[in-house]
């Protein structure tokens, strides 16, 4: 793939969605990761490494994003580059800590690999910083993860960020309570994950529902804002909403003030079971990171424990910090 521009210049390309980091940028990235690492360590999260390459069958057990890069090893086994750190750490807990007393706290700073369209703040190889809190159920575990998240973001110097908080099971529960079959509900959930409220509205119109019920199914996932918006969400979603209130009630004021409730929040990874959250900053048009509860994931690796975690995109965090700096 070596290309010659002219007699003196030779270009050796690197794969689409990857990039080099040179010293000036690296110093800034280091400042960010060191600030975040300090918070993680202080809060008792021990740093781990896992292999960038894992057996595809092992990763597939976790149900995360499908791998984009695969190779055969010398025995003909299929290896895949990890697409997140949550699934490898679930494997690590089940195999390396089979009998350890929970809760277990881990953090990581690791590159992950996805087959995405490269654009600003989104490469195919990108650095994530995150934690996994294993064996601590809702609401306490969720509140702890949100607190660590906010402390880490504040430690980097980011000022304008907010945390969107929702529940991955909320909309499915709502659909079932109105008697919508799961096969039909899947199409509605797909529209919600695709952020397509026009498709959601037209799918709802095709169902034989009361107007009031259809309105409710369209309105609830658009509810977002401060704690007072939860007053509008009664009935079938009351249990999920009460769960979000319990989490919120456990947060220190400086963390609680950052939270926006978002009843339509749907993360696209398959393993989330309860509370889910995303980080927003006005200086960037895409979330800086996110996470949530995945209470069934550890069980798939043979150590059933409730768990919660989050990952921050370091490149996006860097862009948002630079953006905030430019605004002042």
């Amino acid at each position: 793939v070596t290309r010659h521009l002219d007699a003196r210049t030779t270009i050796h390309p690197i794969p689409s969605g990857t990039r080099d980091v040179l010293p000036d940028e690296m110093r800034e990235l280091r400042d960010i990761t060191e600030a975040v690492r300090g918070v993680f360590e202080l809060d008792g999260y021990g740093e781990v490494w896992t292999p960038a390459l894992e057996y595809e069958t092992v990763l597939g057990r976790g149900g995360g994003a499908p791998p984009a890069y695969r190779v055969f090893d010398d025995h003909g086994e299929v290896l895949a580059l990890r697409t997140d750190m949550t699934v490898p750490i679930a494997r690590l807990v089940a195999t390396r800590y089979p009998t350890a007393e929970p809760p277990l706290r881990f953090c990581y700073f690791a590159h992950v690999y996805r087959g995405v369209r490269p654009h600003r703040g989104q490469n195919r190889e990108f650095l994530q910083a995150g934690i996994e809190l294993v064996g601590s159920p809702a609401p306490d575990g969720t509140a702890e993860a949100l607190s660590v998240l906010c402390h880490a973001l504040t430690a980097t110097g980011l000022r304008g960020y907010r945390i969107g908080l929702g529940d991955a099971s909320l909309y499915r529960t709502l659909l079932r309570s109105y008697g919508v079959e799961d096969a039909v509900g899947d199409r509605l959930l797909l529209a919600l994950v695709a952020r397509d409220f026009v498709a959601l509205e037209s799918e709802l119109a095709r169902l034989e529902l009361d107007d009031a019920d259809a309105q409710q199914l369209l309105r609830v996932p658009q509810i977002r804002g401060g704690p007072d918006v939860l007053n509008d969400a009664q009935g079938p979603v009351a249990e999920a909403v009460a769960g979000l209130r319990r989490v919120h009630g456990l947060l220190a004021p400086e963390v609680a003030d950052r939270v926006i409730f978002d009843l339509g929040l749907a993360r696209d990874l398959g393993y989330y079971t309860g509370a889910v959250f995303e980080v927003y900053d006005p200086a960037l048009g895409a979330p800086l990171g996110g996470g949530g509860r995945y209470d069934d994931l550890l069980g798939r690796f043979g150590r059933p424990l409730p768990a919660v975690g989050f990952a921050l995109g370091i490149d996006r965090l860097h862009i948002a910090l630079a953006g905030e700096e430019a605004q002042t």
Binding site: R195, V198, A199, R224, E278, P282, L284
Partner: protein
């Protein structure tokens, strides 16, 4: 007066109806109507651009919300934006057409196993033929698509049509309709959370008959 939002507005066929809707929101759009060279109208929070650039600006957060056609959104499925409302105007159809008479695309499929299709909507056309189980070689053209089947470049076209006049004048007939396109209101995913009140107020006014 602005709505506290940056709005990406499409120039071209959707412009007039879009501006009528913005008037109804209380924005003064008279300068946009009279000045077709100026692109940025900061006092009312409007930026104007080609319809196909609207998702780019909204996804990146350079605009909080935008208005563009469903045809554009279908052609750019990877854009991470909220699709909030079908505004109903700018109605047109994405169609599959060939010259009149015996269907040359069917004949090409039967004898050669693949048909050639000219379009400006590469991804839309490729996805449609994949879903309907037909092998197609998509030929991307930038200008008048109707010319391609008349010269033997392709057997068929996929294109957007409002009235069908241009198709008829070029002896082309619609064989299939892919979907109906109308103007949509889209929003940046972060603005949708951080400027929820402004966006919901805009939605409510646009929904009102």
């Amino acid at each position: 007066v602005s709505l506290g939002l940056t709005i990406a507005v499409p120039r071209g066929a959707l412009l007039k109806d879009t501006l009528d809707h913005l008037d109804a929101l209380g924005l003064d759009t008279s300068e946009i109507r009279t000045n077709d060279r100026k692109l940025l109208f900061g006092d009312i929070g409007v930026v104007t651009m080609r319809p196909s650039d609207v998702p780019t600006y909204v996804e990146a957060g350079a605009a909080d919300v935008g208005i563009t056609g469903k045809d554009v959104l279908t052609e750019q499925p990877e854009r991470d934006v909220y699709e909030l409302l079908d505004l109903g105007f700018g109605r047109c159809r994405m169609i599959f057409a060939t010259v009149d008479g015996p269907d040359p695309s069917a004949e090409a499929l039967r004898r050669l196993g693949v048909m050639r299709v000219a379009t400006k909507y590469y991804k839309t056309a490729a996805a449609y033929f994949e879903q309907t189980g037909r092998q197609a070689e998509i030929v991307e053209v930038k200008g008048s698509v109707e010319l391609a089947p008349l010269t033997g470049l392709v057997e068929a076209i996929v294109d957007l049509t409002a009235t069908g006049t241009t198709l008829r004048e070029n002896n082309l007939v619609i064989r299939e309709e892919l979907f109906v396109s109308t103007a949509r209101l889209i929003a940046n995913p972060v603005s949708h959370k951080l400027k929820a009140a402004a966006i919901d107020a805009m939605l409510e006014k646009l929904r009102a008959p």
